[in-house]
């Protein structure tokens, strides 16, 4: 199982092969199509990340001390963005997710999606995923 850091480096390397924005976005659209989809029953109001432009749901489960994420969105580019985040965060320990640096987003040319005014809310997605990690982390600590 590779670490968050290793997975980010993998993604940076993949994206570095693209010559222009079109190839980058075509790849993201592809990634969006392979997103681990959220179970319909978890597509609830409380799992929605509120954004002005597209709807995004994220759900997390604990499996053997690791967090597994599933998600969906009605916009395909947004799905691609979450797919990248899930690839980095799914199967990782809560503590590692909480402490993860996400500056790789900048390096793969998606910086524009980081702007807080950008309505698909990449920042909100990362925050939501980290919130899940914090919740599971405190659950684990309580058990211990």
């Amino acid at each position: 199982m590779s670490s968050i850091q290793e997975r980010q480096e993998e993604i940076i390397e993949e994206f570095s092969m693209f010559e222009d924005w079109m190839q980058r976005y075509e790849y993201m659209i592809e990634l969006g199509k392979s997103l681990p989809l959220i179970d319909e029953k978890h597509k609830t109001e409380e799992n929605i990340i509120k954004g002005c432009q597209s709807r995004v749901w994220v759900y997390a489960e604990m499996d053997n001390d690791q967090v597994d994420f599933t998600a969906d969105s009605d916009a395909i580019i947004t799905k691609g963005i979450i797919a990248i985040l899930i690839r980095v965060f799914s199967g990782q320990k809560p503590e590692d997710i909480i402490n993860a640096d996400t500056s790789f987003i900048d390096e793969i040319g998606l910086k524009e999606h980081l702007s807080p005014t950008r309505a698909n809310g990449l920042v909100s997605m990362i925050k939501q995923m980290k919130m899940y990690a914090i919740a599971y982390n405190s659950q684990q600590n309580n058990k211990a």
Binding site: W21, M22, Y25, E26, I29, C52, Q53, S54, R55, D74, A75, I76, I77, T78, A119, N120
Partner: protein, 412 residues
């Protein structure tokens, strides 16, 4: 390309007035089709703002010194330009505000002490949130009822239902002159006359009409009319509330402060007369002056020519986009709306289309356009909205259509 548009307007010369139209976005020439959100600014207006700070800057209406007088004259001369443009009877019926939203809130706030629980307010189903929320807040304060004039699938107001909704309890009617999400031109003269028939007052939100239609407030007999300068080649943060003199005299002041007083003691303050009663504090002086310059600029080109040219752009864009499979256009036929093309492509989310168009240098608006009730009506998350201005060209529409086809092929 040969077309009649060049006969209506000298587009090449006009485009030279707008420095921003010559920049690139994401390595492509900017195609700016988000004019319904804000218009671009010609150098005549930019120069006016620079000139104000370089040669006229002083606080207005109070200084005894010459510079203050120069600034005051420029500001009041702009108010006169606005009055003339909208054909108000008096310059003091023109309140210079921060924009349409501010204007609407000023009126809504004023009615909080006038309305009674049995009173009714009508708003149309195609309003911008800024023409819904202030009235909801007003109704919460006064206990009055808010009722909605419905719209048809074509995006036109149902006038028969409107007539049925009007009654002796109707005190206020609020409708936009032109819908921001759909571009529909509403039959405001009929709406105003019918409301007056039951003694109701009418506020028309002119934010989206002002760039295309020259409204004559006296001919319309409208009670209140609101405009934002930034949609008509002016700067942001300034706009107008027109109100009939007797109504503005009746409304209480909106904000307290300097400028709006006549005499102040700790026991009592008497308010200044119109328009100063509603202009507390130091106003956006350079903005007000530039608002006048923007109207001068557009009037020099001519609103009839602007409307005719924009209609040609809209018809061309509509016929080209209809050739793309799966396109659905929202709103009425081109003849009954301003240059707004609100659409979706089957199976695609507006956000995805907008994101890819942006990568190709094309600026459109995507989403619900701050008119969620309209999106709810059509059961869609939003639309892609391309809105055209007199400085756009058919060549830009060709680039837009090419980019749209590219986006579609990438997404499907």
């Amino acid at each position: 390309m040969t077309n009649t548009s060049e006969q209506i307007l000298d587009i090449d010369t006009i485009r030279k007035d707008f420095p921003i139209l010559h920049r690139e976005i994401n390595g492509r020439p900017l195609v700016y089709f988000d004019n319904a959100a804000t218009s671009q600014t010609p150098k005549q207006v930019i120069d006016c703002i620079v000139d104000y700070y370089e040669t006229k800057n002083a606080n207005i209406h109070r200084g005894v010194h010459s510079l203050s007088q120069i600034a005051t004259d420029a500001y009041e001369s702009a108010r006169e330009t606005v009055r003339k443009h909208f054909n108000a009877k008096f310059a003091h019926e023109i309140i210079l505000t921060a924009g349409t939203t501010h204007s609407i809130n000023l009126v809504a706030n004023g009615y909080a002490s006038i309305l009674k629980p049995e009173d009714e307010i009508l708003v149309s189903a195609m309003e911008h949130h800024s023409n819904i929320v202030p009235w909801q807040m007003l109704c919460q304060k006064t206990g009055s009822k808010l009722k909605v004039i419905p719209m048809s699938h074509k995006g036109e107001l149902e006038m028969d239902t409107y007539k049925e909704l009007l009654n002796e309890n109707t005190k206020l009617v609020f409708v936009n002159h032109v819908s921001n999400a759909l571009g529909t031109i509403n039959p405001i003269k009929d709406i105003i006359d019918l409301a007056h028939g039951v003694g109701a007052k009418v506020l028309i939100d002119g934010a989206q009409s002002a760039p295309h239609i020259k409204a004559d407030v006296q001919a319309l007999d409208v009670d209140y009319y609101t405009v934002s300068a930034h949609k008509i080649c002016g700067p942001t943060g300034v706009g107008m509330l027109y109100g009939k003199e007797e109504l503005l005299n009746m409304l209480p002041p909106y904000q307290g402060g300097g400028e709006m007083i006549s005499e102040v003691t700790f026991e009592k303050t008497t308010y200044a007369g119109l328009p100063h009663k509603f202009e507390a504090g130091t106003p956006n002086i350079s903005g007000g002056i530039a608002f006048g310059a923007a109207l001068d600029y557009m009037n020099d080109i001519g609103f009839e020519a602007i409307a005719a040219y924009e209609m040609e752009l809209l018809k061309y864009a509509t016929s080209e986009i209809e050739k793309i499979d799966g396109v659905e256009i929202y709103g009425t036929s081109p003849e009954r709306k301003t240059a707004v093309l609100s659409f979706n492509i089957e199976g695609l989310h507006p956000y995805d289309i907008g994101t890819l168009l942006d990568k190709m240098g094309i600026a459109v608006r995507t989403g619900h356009h701050c008119a969620q009730p309209i999106m709810e009506f059509y059961k869609i998350p939003g639309t892609v909205r391309a809105s055209f201005s007199f400085y756009n060209t058919k060549e830009e529409i060709d680039s837009f259509i090419t980019a749209l086809k590219k986006a579609k092929s990438m997404l499907l």
